[in-house]
């Protein structure tokens, strides 16, 4: 058992982290909008935490707050992500489907180049030596675990609230929802900003875990990986992101004995999952229920 934890414990932490990123895509998907912007806000949140954790002028604040510096970083990342999310959401959510996905990817790329050129973000090297609250990497479960539980609980409440039902009405038929007097744009932006806020906080929690933060944290590949968690897991259920992240993060590790050909098989699993589970893993359970 100890051997198992030593070998795969960190994988579990990464699964929790990636599942949270997947869930940040689920928020806009509740209104039927496919946004890939999350990874940009993840990067932004990470930079907020990295700068607050290492900037020399903030040293007195860090000493005064001690461990409570970390929650403060999360709050600042949350606020920054929500503000930027609002500013991006209003123009971008006029677009739908693949066009929205493209516009949000353009945003991610712009953000990547901008942080690469901002002196405070450390250029191509990025920021390193970010203070770590725990010595053991497994202890980060205490960051991501509660956040995941909180998010799932929040989603569970949201899906049963009036706001959640409005979200779903837009997903099922935008035109009908508009005809019923739903403020479609307002609701879409609301869902989008919730996703941005979550991604920002996950970024702020991840910066200490990785110890270093640079422009490579917010790439196109990572954005598509998050999308794959949601689609493979099931885009119509909050459990989908969790299942998808668990499968796709552990797959390359499970296939490790295959050495060089493991990524070929990884791609094959992606294709087969799309073909045989079009509703995602969560869709298999949903069908059984009905």
């Amino acid at each position: 058992m100890e051997d198992f934890v030593a070998r795969y414990g960190f994988l579990f932490v990464v699964i929790l982290q990636q599942a949270l990123l997947g869930l940040s895509l689920y928020f806009p998907l509740m209104t039927g909008q496919l946004s890939l912007a999350s990874i940009g806000f993840y990067s932004l949140g990470g930079y907020v935490a990295a700068i607050m954790g290492t900037h020399p002028e903030l040293a007195p604040l860090r000493e005064a707050l001690g461990f409570f510096m970390y929650p403060l970083e999360w709050l600042v990342a949350l606020a920054a992500s929500m503000l930027l999310g609002l500013a991006l959401g209003y123009p971008a959510l006029r677009l739908r489907g693949i066009y929205l996905a493209l516009a949000t990817i353009a945003f991610v790329q712009i953000l990547g180049v901008v942080v690469l050129n901002l002196p405070i973000a450390g250029g191509a090297i990025g920021i390193f030596g970010i203070p770590q609250p725990f010595e053991d990497r497994l202890a980060y479960v205490w960051f991501f675990g509660p956040l995941l539980a909180l998010t799932v609980f929040f989603l569970w409440r949201l899906e049963r609230s009036g706001t959640g039902r409005l979200f779903f009405s837009i997903r099922e038929d935008e035109l009908a929802a508009r005809a019923m007097g739903v403020n479609v744009t307002g609701r879409k932006v609301q869902a989008f900003v919730l996703g941005c806020a979550l991604a920002g906080v996950v970024g702020a929690m991840s910066a200490p875990l990785l110890n270093t933060w640079n422009a490579r944290q917010g790439t196109f590949d990572a954005a598509v990986a998050c999308l794959a968690y949601v689609l493979i897991g099931g885009a119509r259920s909050k459990w989908g992101a969790l299942l998808g992240a668990a499968l796709l993060v552990s797959l390359p590790e499970v296939l490790r004995p295959l050495k060089d050909s493991r990524m070929i098989l990884n791609g094959l699993v992606l294709v087969l999952a799309c073909v045989y589970m079009p509703q995602g893993i969560a869709g298999l359970f949903a069908r059984r229920k009905s």
Binding site: Y99, V113, V224, L227, V271, C274
Partner: protein
């Protein structure tokens, strides 16, 4: 900012831009028919470059499963380019069979094809790495035969250089564009293709075999992708199995040097603005959406 400087940059931009146009047309063809982006297109681009390399040079690199294998023949560059492009077209057909057709037949969400085509891209890229190795391949300088490497033109007191390869890039790309426009607007097959893009159901009622035309579109798309991969590869070298993926995303913007580190940000900002202002594209006509 002199005239020669302006002309030099204009020529550089035209040459590389025309290859991007051929590459992008591969995306556009599939998008216009299926309304979905084929993420495997960048991998087919890479595959085309590698296949042409092996056919033209006749041997594999030092790593990978096929290290040290030599072919009994070496094709002239033009033939290798064509053969590489046709093989890439077949790879495009395989992509359709694996990632798109099964989903279409099952009536799955169109967005899922993003992930399945990404899966095929992952397979292709890693297959290339497995077989060809991860090292850099570069075409030998005499691959085009005994042509001078560049021509110099004098303008006033300054020179404008046109690399031979730049001229080849531009000429081949233009030829492909003209052929494609002729095929789509000048032949009966092209007309059927346009009908399929307009409305697959009506097209199939009119006796057009929609599945065959989708397959054909993927063949042409792969052909264009593989050919542009070769052209970029001849010009800049093959920087490993992932190089097509980077080109698939990249757009080049032309900017003053002091802002050059922000050039990609400006290019993507332009993309963002264009999407907001004209989602149907710069020159596209607005399609009426029926309720």
């Amino acid at each position: 900012m002199s005239l020669a400087w302006f002309l030099q940059n204009l020529l550089n931009g035209l040459s590389i831009g025309s290859v991007y146009a051929v590459f992008a047309l591969g995306y556009t063809l599939v998008f216009s028919i299926l309304g979905i982006i084929n993420f495997a297109h960048g991998a087919v681009f890479t595959l085309g470059a590698y296949l042409t390399y092996v056919l033209a040079v006749g041997e594999f690199g030092l790593n990978g499963l096929l290290a040290g294998v030599t072919l009994p023949f070496k094709l002239p560059f033009v033939l290798a380019l064509l053969a590489g492009a046709v093989l890439s077209g077949l790879a495009g057909v395989a992509v359709e069979r694996m990632a798109f057709r099964p989903l279409r037949k099952r009536g799955a969400d169109a967005l899922l094809a993003l992930v399945s085509s990404l899966g095929v891209a992952l397979i292709l890229v890693n297959l290339i790495q497995y077989l060809f190795g991860a090292e850099i391949y570069s075409f030998p300088p005499d691959v085009l035969g005994d042509l001078p490497p560049a021509m110099l033109f004098q303008i006033g007191e300054e020179f404008v250089a046109v690399r031979t390869i730049q001229a080849v890039l531009f000429a081949v790309s233009m030829l492909m564009l003209i052929l494609l426009v002729w095929f789509i607007h000048g032949t009966k097959q092209g007309k059927a293709l346009r009908a399929t893009a307009e409305n697959p159901d009506t097209a199939s009622l009119l006796g057009i075999s929609v599945d065959r035309f989708i397959l054909g579109t993927f063949f042409i798309s792969g052909l264009l992708g593989g050919m542009s991969g070769t052209l970029i590869g001849v010009s800049f070298g093959l920087a490993g199995p992932y190089f097509g993926v980077a080109y698939g995303l990249k757009t080049l913007a032309f900017l003053p040097p002091e802002l050059s580190s922000f050039k990609e940000a400006v290019a993507y900002a332009l993309l963002f603005v264009v999407l907001l202002a004209r989602p149907q594209g710069l020159l596209g006509k607005n399609a009426e959406e029926k309720v």
